[in-house]
Subunit: 348 residues, 2 copies
């Protein structure tokens, strides 16, 4: 394991279309980098997929395991009963230093439970977080076209300290992976004023305001998620989850509306057709396919979760995210800023 | 005040375009009903507006007050300092039995504070709630095209009992005002399983499940708001507010996207134009303009809040909501079902 040649451990069996898209995406990323990729999973099936692609054999190796966690499994039970499931083995290998990051398109619960079993958290961090990346319509092109909201459901409740940790982690993510300077931080709340919200939010507001190394812009509301008022939006897991799914619900309804229009008059169909190019162009810069996967935040080693139904192209971009984060030492930046926060708490 | 001739007390000065649209909407509704309307506000300005319309003079009267709460006022301060503001006077008149309902397009905070000052809550109810009506895309045309989510921000935290009260109030609203039988009730939560969420949600789940007079379908998630999985969605104020604003945010972003398309190629503009008829037709059944205003839930008398920026047509429909709710005795139904719930709690 050297900085010059990063090693990515891949849960080759995780995801709805594994190992087809995981192997395909890996071969694509191998061609675009000098990294090494360890495919963890059923050797026979992985080899069958590898045959479909041309790749540099020195860049890809296989670690065989016959077990895997499927969509039919309850993640909690499977984690106990399938000790050699590909996702668990990948996490164990990451712990043992056999790679710099693990990437999985398996279920979020399975990935978090596997990582929790083997990977320590960043010193000071008590609760891991799931971040969701939202495309936003920011006018200012020098800002990140994405917002990251976290936690969106790894937890129900969080402490004010958790929310400060998430702010630092989100900032490191946008800075080091997306290359955006000085991301702004907002606290998801019921109103803009500093006294709004529950006790956790009020205390988090104070803590976030007191940190000169955070660009905290104050409370933000639900509608600020998609308008991009803040680059990093921190939230307790319960509220973050409900916000994220509310946004997703509208996206689903818009798709349904489009389908209804398609069943309607010819002129509506033409309208959709004419418009689709414009929508695609506007949205491309922030599309899910382009970033491919996001870290599970809070672990002291890099754990990337890709979408369960992602394409090989999106999977490749998830691997690129991993390589970028390794190259830029994203976890190190999280560790440093959080340890500074923890030290300041003690000295106060 | 008689059942035959309902009397509506109107905060004529409340809303961004008052008294223009409030007077216009009132004249429209007067023409479509036999109700009496009391316009509360600046007599000179109201009379100037009335002159623009033809109406039956027996149906409309004016109660003069020179004071009003404007957008520039802090509602909390204004409620204390402007004792004769139109919205406060309207609430006082409602208390004194001078009408069957009050309607205001003033700020939500001003309306709730005014009502709280003078109107008792439904027996058993501890906290008033704001409900937001969402258009949904339900396939089943016999179901309500609207969902109502409450509370969306009158409170931060709520008790499990509050959430049961809200369920009964939402059901009475959809049944008596929108005429939909047996509305379903869902609990906004972080996941579908009964053990999900915080302690309040877990306890509320149990209470709601135990009520045979509620069609409770279990937990619903953020994306279920717009897909219409449940007709009535109950939530603590904090989570409901964040969910509501998250949905609104996407709607704002879609509008912004459309604007960007309008600035783009001719073909995109044509696309939007072709599609607009279809979107309008699909959305019409559930548009905001059609229902015009929603009750502030929990008061023992009918308090209707219309949108601050609503049109005269929407305002008229808010008045229609008031008349419908009076005619169908909506508050009475809320009172009965909640008192039954409260009695059952004691006898258990």
């Amino acid at each position: 394991m050297s900085k010059e040649k990063p090693v990515i451990i891949i849960d080759a069996m995780g995801g709805d279309f594994a190992p087809g898209i995981t192997v395909d995406g890996t071969c694509q990323m191998a061609a675009e980098s000098n990294a090494h990729f360890i495919l963890v999973g059923d050797e026979t099936r992985i080899k069958a997929e590898l045959k479909k692609h041309s790749y540099n054999e020195e860049q890809i190796s296989i670690v065989h395991t016959p077990e895997m966690i499927t969509n039919e499994d309850s993640p909690k039970t499977a984690i106990r009963e399938k000790k050699n499931a590909s996702v668990l083995l990948a996490a164990r290998m990451l712990k043992e230093g056999k790679g710099d990051a693990m990437v999985s398109a398996g279920s979020t619960a399975a990935v978090i439970l596997s990582a929790s079993l083997y990977i320590k958290r960043i010193p000071g961090v008590k609760r891991a977080a799931i971040g969701t990346v939202f495309p936003t319509l920011k006018e200012d092109k020098t800002k990140s076209p994405y917002s990251v909201v976290m936690d969106v459901g790894a937890n129900i409740c969080n402490s004010p300290d958790d929310l400060v940790h998430y702010a630092y982690m989100g900032v490191a993510y946008l800075k080091e992976v997306f290359n955006f300077d000085d991301p702004t931080v907002g606290l998801l709340n019921i109103g803009a004023e500093s006294h709004k919200g529950n006790d956790t939010m009020k205390e988090a507001y104070k803590l976030l305001s007191s940190r000169s190394d955070l660009n905290f812009i104050g409370n933000v509301e639900g509608n600020d998620i998609t308008n991009g008022k803040a680059d990093v939006i921190v939230s307790e897991g319960l509220t973050g989850n409900i916000a994220m799914k509310s946004v997703e619900g509208v996206a689903e309804s818009v798709k349904k509306l489009a389908k209804m229009a398609l069943k309607g008059k010819l002129i509506w169909r033409l309208g959709l057709l004419f418009l689709s190019g414009g929508i695609k162009k506007i949205m491309k810069v922030a599309s899910y396919e382009e970033y491919g996967g996001a870290p599970i935040f809070g672990f002291d080693k890099l754990v990337i979760k890709s979408h369960g139904r992602c394409t090989a192209y999106a999977y490749k971009n998830g691997l690129r995210t991993a390589l970028e984060a390794i190259d830029r030492n994203m976890i190190g930046f999280m560790r440093d800023s959080i340890s500074k926060f923890e030290a300041d708490k003690i000295s106060e």
